[in-house]
């Protein structure tokens, strides 16, 4: 076993150990055992960082990959299939190593932060236990080498999310939110599960590698439509987990959970798992599936951004911004900007975790006030929070010199390239929505910064509302002066909450990822995480796109420009050196693709990827230009509205009231779902239950009653006919017996005399016979 594998197993199991210790013993440990959680996660991060260092920094090989697996279930010799085993295993490549380091770092920081934020909570110890099982499940998703394992951990993160959203389960809103989150995820999961079933039913394996190899060898027997369906169904898992339209409704409600949970699970890691999963299965997505993914991502990014503009709750704005950013990542994957999407995943994880933890610090300092309308002027009492929050906001808005700028720009460039390569038309909607959402993002984040940190404190403006939802979040916190709430009561948070903010903000600076603030492609991330070659045929060169021959041509000419993956895989289609190419290919998948390409000659589909990459490369500078303009536009608009008050937001909202309400009520998705699916299900269940109790059981009882009727009828027959015959026989016997019994005197002597007479009679008869 490779030493990195051993390390990664330790990384995987340590958080589980934390969970087990804390769930059983938290009440017996000093400080409710928070040091166990923090300590174990610190260790886990150290190990993960070592893995990251060895893989990404030392090896510095885009094709790095170690794997290990074991037999989990042995089916024996299955008729019709042969020996069948279900294997579980771990795979470590560059992406895994980066994700490991990211997840454990954020988890560690959130653990640390929670020692401050959650202190005094009656279920303090349990909180760390739940964080432990979440981290375990999340690392499982990252490390899994097969679809079955990822599905298992997929649902386990769903469980931990369920437990943590409902951490304050006394609140009905929290209990509702946790149920909603789990069920929305389940809906996505059944799609994902069906996708897994489609692949398993063809290949009898769950392993990524084997599935990809089989696909590349053209062994998929159900046809192109099923393969596209499999891709879209698998993507449904991502729709649920990453809160994409139309299953996005659970994520904003999930903010009922404690704020560190929102940072860790519902912003940085778990919701990004959907994107990670799509990246894992990226090579089997057909072009049609990718189009669906791109459109879903674009719609999500746009829709969530429009909603975020009008929300008052500080966490809800961030939640919708998370949905919107996840939409970007999905969009990025859909348009084929694989590396860019994953790059954005990582940068977003850091700055969004920073934003959430910052908002947590604000909420903590404001005694659980979450409504931005009653904040303001926090810049002075909370300088650290202000600085880090602002830096992260700039990264989210995508201003140059930040990490978010590089990754978002790469996605948008990919979107332009995609639209160009696909022949324009309707595909231009995708980059358009992307850029427009970028402007909206800048606008609502500018609004948030201004409302929270600038101006004067508006605490006193808050109407006295005893039922305000922030009120009873914590039972033990003193909030006697809640309504008095002067801003001089607000202080900067302690070091254990400040340190994570600083670290996360530092990771939002461009220099961490690339030496050139304007070009992420020069950095290590985009070098180490490169688009794998597809293993399924693309319709790009068969469906008659006008640009296809050109794209193919350019793809070849510009082989220098495209990432090595495409280059290698493409050249494989024409060269014999399969083995050597495979060795230097980006992923082993590329080798599979190469085999496929060799088997099918020119059907091999890389030209489409190559064309998009080429166009994206060309679109790099235009994208930077447009997005910078958009961001500046958005921020200026926020300044115009909220700082200079040239446009009065209230008045504007009134003048476009329907639009405002549409945004404020989140496009009415909750209401629509409630009226259709939820009410519908309850109605169906009531109808079926009635049907069961009255019709099905009615038939049973009816049969019972009928049997009784029949019983009565046969009883009558029995009484009058059958029994009548019996009684008649008895009557006959009785009368004849009455005659005969006269003979029966009961006296022995009579019988003896009769006997004697009989004997004598016999003798007389005998002798007369003898005589004659």
């Amino acid at each position: 076993m490779h030493s990195l594998i051993q390390l990664s197993i330790a990384v995987l199991l340590l958080p589980l150990l934390s969970f087990v210790i804390l769930i059983f013993f938290n009440k017996r440990l000093p400080r409710r055992g928070d040091f166990v959680g923090v300590g174990i996660l610190g260790t886990t991060f150290a190990l993960s960082f070592y893995i990251f260092w060895s893989v990404v920094v030392q090896a510095y090989d885009p094709a790095f990959r170690v794997a290990w697996d074991f037999t989990w279930i042995d089916f024996g010799n299955v008729p019709g299939v042969g020996p069948l085993e279900i294997r579980m295993g771990i795979v470590i490549d560059n992406l895994t190593a980066i994700m490991l380091a990211m997840v454990t770092l954020i988890s560690f920081l959130v653990h640390l932060y929670s020692t401050g934020y959650m202190s005094g909570d009656p279920r303090y110890g349990r909180f760390f236990a739940f964080l432990g099982i979440f981290t375990f499940s999340m690392l499982g998703i990252v490390l899994a080498d097969n679809l079955f394992a990822i599905y298992i951990f997929w649902e386990l993160v769903g469980l931990s999310s369920y437990l943590l959203i409902g951490f304050y389960f006394e609140k009905d809103s929290a209990a509702d939110a946790q149920k909603k989150a789990f069920l929305a995820n389940r809906v996505g999961d059944i799609g994902m599960w069906l996708g897994i079933l489609i692949l398993y039913s063809q290949f009898h394996t769950f392993s990524y590698q084997e599935i990809f190899a089989n696909l590349a060898a053209g062994k998929f027997g159900l046809g192109e439509a099923w393969l596209t369906a499999a891709g879209i169904l698998l993507f449904m898992g991502c729709v649920g987990k990453s809160a994409q339209f139309p299953l996005h409704v659970w994520l904003p409600d999930a903010m009922e959970g404690p704020t560190p949970v929102s940072a860790l699970i519902h912003a940085a890691t778990m919701v990004a798992a959907g994107v990670y999963f799509v990246a894992r299965i990226f090579v089997l997505l057909t072009a049609d599936a990718l189009h669906v993914i791109a459109f879903i991502g674009a719609v999500t990014a746009f829709m969530a951004a429009t909603i975020a503009i009008t929300q008052h709750d500080i966490k809800r704005v961030l939640a919708y911004s998370t949905v919107s950013q996840l939409g970007y990542m999905v969009l990025g994957l859909g348009v084929g900007a694989y590396s860019a999407a994953l790059f954005h995943l990582v940068t977003h994880a850091f700055f969004k975790a920073c934003l959430f933890l910052g908002s947590g610090a604000i909420i903590h300092a404001m005694h659980h006030e979450q409504d931005m309308r009653w904040m303001g002027g926090l810049r002075k009492p909370m300088p650290w929070t202000f600085a880090t929050f602002t830096l992260a906001t700039l990264a989210l808005a995508g201003l140059p010199l930040t990490s978010g700028f590089m990754s978002k720009d790469a996605i948008l460039a990919g979107a332009i390239g995609f639209a160009a390569a696909e022949g324009g038309g309707i595909y231009w909607i995708i980059p358009f929505l992307g850029f427009f959402s970028a402007m909206l993002t800048a606008f609502y984040m500018g609004r948030q910064i201004w409302l929270v940190f600038f101006g004067e404190s508006r605490t006193h403006l808050k109407p006295a509302d005893p039922h305000h939802h922030g009120h009873d979040a914590h039972g033990s916190h003193g909030h006697d002066d809640h309504h008095a709430g002067e801003s001089h009561g607000v202080h900067e948070v302690a070091w254990n909450m400040r340190a994570p903010l600083v670290i996360l903000a530092a990771l939002s600076v461009f220099a961490v990822y690339s030496p050139d603030p304007l070009d992420g492609a020069k950095g290590w991330f985009l070098k180490m995480v490169q688009t794998p070659a597809t293993v399924v045929g693309s319709p790009g060169n068969t469906a008659g796109h006008e640009s296809s021959p050109l794209a193919l041509h350019e793809g070849r000419l510009l082989a220098e420009a495209v990432p090595p993956a495409q280059h290698k895989a493409e050249s494989d289609a024409h060269s014999e050196g399969v083995a050597s190419e495979a060795a230097s290919g980006v992923h082993a998948e590329a080798a599979g693709a190469a085999a496929h390409g060799e088997a099918h000659g020119h059907e091999f589909s890389d030209p489409r990827q190559a064309a998009i990459a080429h166009e994206a490369h060309a679109a790099h500078w235009p994208a930077i230009m447009i997005s910078s303009v958009m961001v500046v536009l958005g921020i200026s608009l926020a300044f115009v509205v909220y700082v200079f008050r040239i446009i009065d937001p209230e008045k504007t909202a009134r003048s476009i009231r329907p639009l405002y309400l549409y945004s404020f009520n989140k496009w009415y998705w909750d209401e629509i779902y409630d009226a259709t699916f939820i009410k519908g299900s309850v109605l169906i269940s009531k109808i079926l239950s009635w049907f069961d109790a009255n019709i099905v059981d009615g038939i049973v009882n009816g049969v019972g009653a009928m049997t009784r009727r029949v019983g009565f009828a046969t009883g009558g027959f029995d009484k009058y006919v059958v029994d009548g015959a019996v009684n008649f026989t008895a009557f006959l016997v009785n009368t004849s017996g009455g005659v005969l019994r006269k003979l029966q005197t009961g006296k022995v002597q009579t019988y003896v005399v009769l006997l004697l007479l009989a004997v004598i009679g016999y003798f007389i008869y005998y002798f007369t016979q003898l005589i004659y």
């Binding site: 029966q744 005197t745 009961g746 006296k747 022995v748 002597q749 003896v752 005399v753 004697l756």
Partner: protein, 105 residues
């Protein structure tokens, strides 16, 4: 004397027949249950004499065995019958067989 010295099978059978006739007569005519019982005993003994006589003149021992059985059986029968009679007497205060007819109806 000849009659006394030359006793043959016929003599035994004659005695036996007579005994049987007396017994049968007693059983048929008397009403006293005890007398009827005595008649039955006579009939049994008539049979005994027949068995012994045939045994003596045919040479086998089977007849002797049968008669032994019959003697035992007669004793048992007498004991049980007398017990029944005593019980009947207790209930009906009579041993007249014609008056004991409650099972008739």
């Amino acid at each position: 004397m000849e009659l006394l010295t030359n006793i043959g099978l016929n003599h035994y059978l004659t005695i036996s027949a007579l005994l049987f006739g007396f017994g049968l007569f007693a059983v048929m005519t008397r009403r006293n249950a005890i007398v009827i019982l005595m008649g039955v005993e006579l009939i049994l003994n008539a049979a005994n004499i027949n068995f012994l006589a045939f045994s003596k003149y045919s040479g086998g021992m089977e007849g002797v065995m049968f008669s032994l059985f019959i003697i035992v059986l007669a004793a048992a029968e007498a004991a049980i019958a007398l017990a029944i009679v005593i019980n009947i007497y207790k209930i009906f205060r009579s041993v007249d067989v014609s008056s004991i007819d409650t099972m008739k109806e």
